[in-house]
Every structure is written in C-alpha cells, then in structure tokens.
C-alpha cells in the first residue's frame, strides 16, 4: 500500500508540474508531503507560482489562477488513473477568454479516451462540443431536454 502511494504520488506530482507549466505558459508548480517520514498519514501541500510572479502562499492566487491550478491537478490525476467519463459543471465561470482557450486546448487532448459532459454559459467553451442539448422549462418547474445543432446554439444563446 505504501509502495502504491509512493508511486502514485511521484507520478501525479510529475504530471502536475508538467500540465501547470503548459496551462500557465510558464511559471512553476509542485506537490509536497506535509510529513515525508510518515507516508501513511501525510497530507499534501500545493505550491503554485504563476509566470513572472514570486512564490507565495496559494491563498494569494486570484480566482482564475486558483481554478486553473485546480484544473492542472485534475488532469494530473486523470493521467494517473483515467476515467472514461468526466462531467464539468460551469468550470469556466471565472476564467477569462485567454485562459478558456488554454483550458480547451488541454481538454481536447483527452477527448479520444474520455467522454466529457460539460455545462457552460460561455460561447467559447460551447464551440468544442460534438453533441448539444438545451434544457428548458417551457412548463414551469418541469425540465425538458431538446437536442440542438451547433448553429441553433448560436441563436438560442442570444435568445437566452
């Protein structure tokens, strides 16, 4: 069990360092153990340093930087133990347009092996869909699903 954790930790740590650098276009990140001598009980610290900035506590990161760091860690876990599906509920809400494009580029690399189901209000994120569903409550309180094409999404959103 200890052997398993050690392997997993070092692989996830390596993935995280790599993916963080790609998402932020530089900077550096790391995972460290709170109690390296007691692997069974040790917690995990996250270190994140966006490009051009000095290293500081992760609580000082901005809203968008925290989300990007969390996404980097999520994909680092995915690489270690892929899941065939992944649901994301408005994960892009606090990202600016430039970071949404970086997130999309990363996500597309996983698409052949993972089925993503994404809820979003952001037009840029929608553009990467292959299947589209709109949910309406024409009858108050009752959800109804309608299947949409990409061109319908464009017009439907401006109606929203």
């Amino acid at each position: 069990c200890l052997r398993l954790f050690k392997d997993a930790f070092s692989e996830i740590r390596h993935n995280f360092i790599e993916i963080f650098r790609r998402l932020f276009g530089g900077g550096s990140a790391d995972l460290s153990l709170t109690e390296p001598d007691n692997l069974m009980e040790s917690g995990i610290e996250i270190i994140a340093q966006p490009p051009g900035k000095k290293l500081s506590h992760i609580s000082l990161l901005s809203g968008g930087e925290r989300v990007l760091t969390a996404i980097a860690l999520m994909f680092a876990l995915f690489l270690r133990k892929p899941s065939p599906f992944c649901v994301l509920d408005e994960i892009d809400a606090s990202l600016d347009d430039a970071n949404i494009e970086l997130f999309k580029a990363l996500l597309m690399e996983f698409v052949p092996d993972v089925h993503f189901i994404i809820v979003t209000h952001n037009k840029r994120t929608m553009m990467m869909g292959t299947t589209f569903y709109g949910i309406t409550m024409e009858e108050p309180g009752v959800s109804k699903v309608i299947s949409l094409q990409l061109d319908e999404i464009e017009s439907k959103i401006s109606l929203d």
């Binding site: 996250i46 992944c86 089925h115």
Partner: protein, 165 residues
C-alpha cells in the same frame, strides 16, 4: 464509446421520462438558470450509487423525487437508468451493453438493477471497482466546487490523491 444513454424519470425537476443520447466526444448542455442542468449531473451521481443526500444538494434522499408544481402532482418514485457501452470490456463482465437502474419510492424503498435484474448496491459498486468510474473527485466537478481541492486541508487532498492511486 462509454455512456450511451441516460433515462431520467421523476428525478428532481424531470417530471416526465427524459432521454439523453450520448456520443463520443464532448457533450455540451446549455440553458437558463434553474432549468435543470445540474440536476442531470445529480442523476448521474445518484445512479452510480451516491448515498449522501448532501452530495445531491438534498437534505434527505426523498428530496430527489419530483416534488410537483402548481399543475402537476408529485411523483411516487424517482428512476434513473444509465446505459453503458461495454464493448471495450472495461467492466469485468461479458455483456456488451450494461444498463444500471436505480429507483426510490416515497415510502423509502430503494431498488438497484443491472440489465433489469434486481441487485444490491454492493453489486453495482463491485462492477465499477478499479475502473475509474464512479463519483471520484476528479471525474465529477460540481458547480462552484472546482477549486475545492485548492481550499481543502492537506489531509483532504490526500484522500483525493488516494482515489487515483
């Protein structure tokens, strides 16, 4: 391909039988506030065996049964079925298509079925053991929770890492 179809009936705001067909690639779900998008994710989490009402934004499990509107009576039960394409034999059974179903009645009775045959929750959990499917923290990111892992205490983060170990 993996999730082929999701059928929801009487679960949360889905008063009538609703079907979502899935394809390979990226499925996008849109709609105004309060229309039922996150309820679809709750349905997936529930059919995969979720036992904690709070993980479904509910205070008691019966909150997931359609509660009625001004014009429609409350439902007697909630039912969700997930049709899984198993041609890649990711799940340790010989069957090519697996249908997981979960039902909850107002009186509290709860049923689980695999390919329409009643089973126990344990059977569903064993089916998904070690496949990466299930409600791990990194395969289901709830609304507003994406930076949970950043805010979490070091030991909570450890639990999430252990899921991927």
């Amino acid at each position: 391909m993996f999730f082929k179809r999701l059928e929801i009936n009487g679960f949360k705001s889905f008063a009538r039988k609703t079907v979502l067909e899935f394809q390979q690639g990226v499925t996008i779900i849109v709609g105004p506030n309060g229309c039922g998008k996150s309820n679809i994710f709750d349905a997936i989490r529930w059919v995969l065996g979720e036992q904690a009402p709070t993980a479904l934004r509910a205070t008691k499990m019966s909150d997931v049964i359609f509660n009625g509107t001004a014009h429609i009576k409350p439902a007697n039960f909630a039912q969700v079925s997930l049709v899984i394409d198993n041609r890649s034999s990711l799940l340790p059974v010989e069957i090519k298509e697996i249908v997981i179903t979960r039902r909850l009645f107002r009186d509290g009775e709860s049923q689980y079925l695999i390919n329409r045959v009643p089973c126990r929750l344990k059977d569903i959990q064993e089916l998904f053991m070690d496949t990466g499917i299930g409600t791990t923290a990194y395969s289901m990111m709830e609304q507003g929770q994406v930076d949970f892992i950043i805010n979490a205490r070091p030991l909570e983060r450890r639990l999430i890492l252990d899921e991927a170990a």
